[in-house]
C-alpha cells in the first residue's frame, strides 16, 4: 500500500469515487455549521460591529488560495520526477479552484476593507501579493489552454509552476519592502500571545476545515473529469483509426 498506487487512473477514480460522497457531505455540513455559527451565534466585535463576520469566508478562501498553489507545486514536481499523468491532471484541475479562491479572498477583503479601512483597495503587501498570485494563476491556466499536446502542456506548466513559485515567494517579500501594510498580521498562530478571540476562532476553524474538504472534493471531482475527457479523446482517436 503506497500513495503511488493512485497514479493508476483506474484505482484513483475508484477510490475517489468511494470517498467523494463523504467529502461532499462533510464539507457542506462543516461549512454550513461554521457559517451559521459564525454569522448568527457570535457576538458583534466591539469595534468592527457585524462586519467582522466576513472573516468566516475571507480567511478560509485565502488559506485555500495559497494551499491550492502549494498543491499544484507538489503535483507538478511529482509529474516532472515520476511522470504520473494523474498528478499532472490534478494540478490542472486545482488551478481554476485556486483562482476562484483567490478571487473570493480578494473580493471579500475589499467588501470588508471598505467599512473598516475606508477603502476598497490599498496597495498593502498582503493584498498586492494576492493580486500577483491571481496573475500567476491566470498565466498558468492560459498556458494549459494554449497548448494542444497534453504531455507538452503538462511539462511546460509544471516548470512554469516551479519557477513561478520561486517568484511568487520573492514577490511576497518584495512587496513587504515596498509598502507598509494596512492588513493585520497573522492572528491564528499557535505561538502568539494575542490571537483572535475564541468565540470567533472556533467557528472559523470549522469553516477552514470545511473549505479544505471542499477543495479536496472539487479537485478529486475535476481530476476525474479530466481523466475521463482524456479517455474519450483516446476512444475517439481509436475509432477514427479503425474507420
Amino acid at each position: 500500500m503506497s500513495i503511488w498506487e493512485y497514479a493508476n487512473p483506474k484505482k484513483f477514480l475508484a477510490t475517489t469515487e468511494r470517498v467523494m460522497p463523504t467529502l461532499w457531505i462533510s464539507s457542506a455540513a462543516l461549512i454550513s455549521v461554521g457559517l451559521v455559527w459564525g454569522f448568527f451565534f457570535t457576538p458583534d466585535d466591539y469595534r468592527q460591529g457585524s462586519t467582522v463576520k466576513i472573516i468566516f469566508l475571507h480567511v478560509p478562501s485565502a488559506l485555500m488560495a495559497i494551499n491550492a498553489w502549494f498543491m499544484m507545486l507538489v503535483t507538478s514536481l511529482v509529474w516532472v520526477i515520476r511522470r504520473h499523468h494523474v498528478s499532472a491532471l490534478a494540478a490542472r484541475a486545482a488551478a481554476p479552484v485556486g483562482v476562484v479562491m483567490t478571487l473570493i479572498a480578494l473580493v471579500t477583503g475589499a467588501i470588508w476593507g471598505q467599512p473598516m479601512w475606508g477603502t476598497w483597495w490599498a496597495w498593502d503587501p498582503r493584498l498586492t501579493s494576492f493580486l500577483v498570485l491571481f496573475l500567476f494563476y491566470l498565466g498558468y491556466i492560459a498556458l494549459w489552454e494554449a497548448i494542444d499536446n497534453p504531455d507538452t502542456a503538462a511539462d511546460l506548466t509544471s516548470i512554469l509552476c516551479l519557477v513561478g513559485s520561486v517568484f511568487a515567494v520573492l514577490s511576497r517579500y518584495a512587496v513587504n519592502f515596498w509598502n507598509q501594510g494596512l492588513h493585520q498580521g497573522a492572528s491564528l498562530s499557535l505561538d502568539k500571545e494575542e490571537n483572535v478571540a475564541d468565540v470567533f476562532s472556533n467557528p472559523l476553524y470549522v469553516c477552514m476545515a470545511g473549505f479544505v474538504l471542499l477543495f479536496i472534493a472539487l479537485v478529486f471531482y475535476r481530476t476525474g473529469t479530466e481523466i475521463r475527457a482524456r479517455r474519450i479523446k483516446a476512444l475517439i482517436a481509436r475509432e477514427r483509426l479503425e474507420a
Binding site: L135, A146, I159, A168, A174, F177, W178
Partner: protein, 218 residues
C-alpha cells in the same frame, strides 16, 4: 559560444532584425507620459524613476517574442539543440544577445529620457546603476518566457501574461533604487536585493529555459 553571440548580434543589427524597436518604444512611452499626466515638472520629477523603469520593462517585453521565434521558424533552433554546445549555454547566449541589443541601449537612453521627465540630478547615477543591474534579469526571465511560448502561434500576448508576474520583484527593487536615488536616500538595501535577483536569475533560470526548450523541441 562567441560565434553564436556574434551571429545573434549580427542578425539583430541588420535590416529586419528589429534592433532599435525596443529603444523607439521606450522613447515613445516616455514621451506619452507627460501627455497623459500633465506637464507639471514637480509631478514628473516624482514619477520619473518609476516611469523610466516601467518603460524599460515594457520595451524589454516587446522584443521578447522575437528572441527565439525567428530561430524556431527557420529551424536553426533545432540545429542549435543538436550542436555540441549545451542548450543551457545556448539560451544564456541568447539572453546575453538580447540584453546587448535591447537592455544596454535602454540603459544608455534612460538618462536622456530622464532629462525629459525632469529627473533630479542626483537620481541619474542610481537610475543608470539600477537599470544596469536590473535589465540582465529582465532579459534572462524573458528568455524563459520566450522558451515557454516558442511553439505557439500567436504566443505574444500569452508571453506577456506569463512574464509580467515574474518581473514584479525586479521592478519593485529596481524602481525603488531609482526612486531612493532621486530623492537622495540610502539605496544600499534595494540595490543589493536587485543585484541578488539578477545574479540568481542568471545562475538558475537558464536551466529552466533549457528544460522548457527541450520539451518544445521534442
Amino acid at each position: 559560444m562567441i560565434a553564436l553571440l556574434f551571429r545573434d548580434l549580427k542578425l539583430a543589427l541588420r535590416a529586419g532584425g528589429g534592433f532599435g524597436l525596443g529603444l523607439a518604444f521606450f522613447l515613445i512611452v516616455t514621451v506619452m507620459v507627460p501627455f497623459s499626466v500633465g506637464p507639471q515638472s514637480e509631478l514628473l520629477a516624482r514619477i520619473a524613476p518609476g516611469v523610466l523603469w516601467l518603460g524599460a520593462l515594457l520595451a524589454c517585453l516587446l522584443s521578447l517574442d522575437r528572441l527565439l521565434a525567428l530561430d524556431w521558424e527557420d529551424g536553426s533552433l533545432d540545429l542549435l539543440a543538436t550542436a555540441p554546445l549545451p542548450l543551457e549555454g545556448t539560451v544564456t547566449i541568447k539572453a546575453l544577445a538580447h540584453w546587448i541589443t535591447t537592455g544596454l541601449p535602454l540603459v544608455l537612453a534612460a538618462p536622456v529620457l530622464g532629462v525629459l521627465l525632469n529627473l533630479p540630478v542626483q537620481g541619474f547615477l542610481w537610475l543608470l546603476v539600477s537599470l544596469l543591474l536590473g535589465t540582465p534579469a529582465l532579459s534572462v526571465i524573458g528568455t524563459f518566457g520566450a522558451a515557454l511560448t516558442v511553439g505557439l502561434k500567436r504566443g505574444g500576448l500569452l508571453l506577456s501574461l506569463l512574464v509580467m508576474p515574474l518581473y514584479v520583484p525586479t521592478l519593485i527593487f529596481g524602481a525603488e533604487v531609482a526612486r531612493r536615488g532621486a530623492e537622495g536616500l540610502a539605496v544600499q538595501t534595494p540595490l543589493l536585493l536587485l543585484a541578488g535577483i539578477s545574479a540568481a536569475s542568471i545562475a538558475l533560470l537558464p536551466f529552466a529555459s533549457a528544460a522548457v526548450l527541450r520539451v518544445n523541441l521534442r
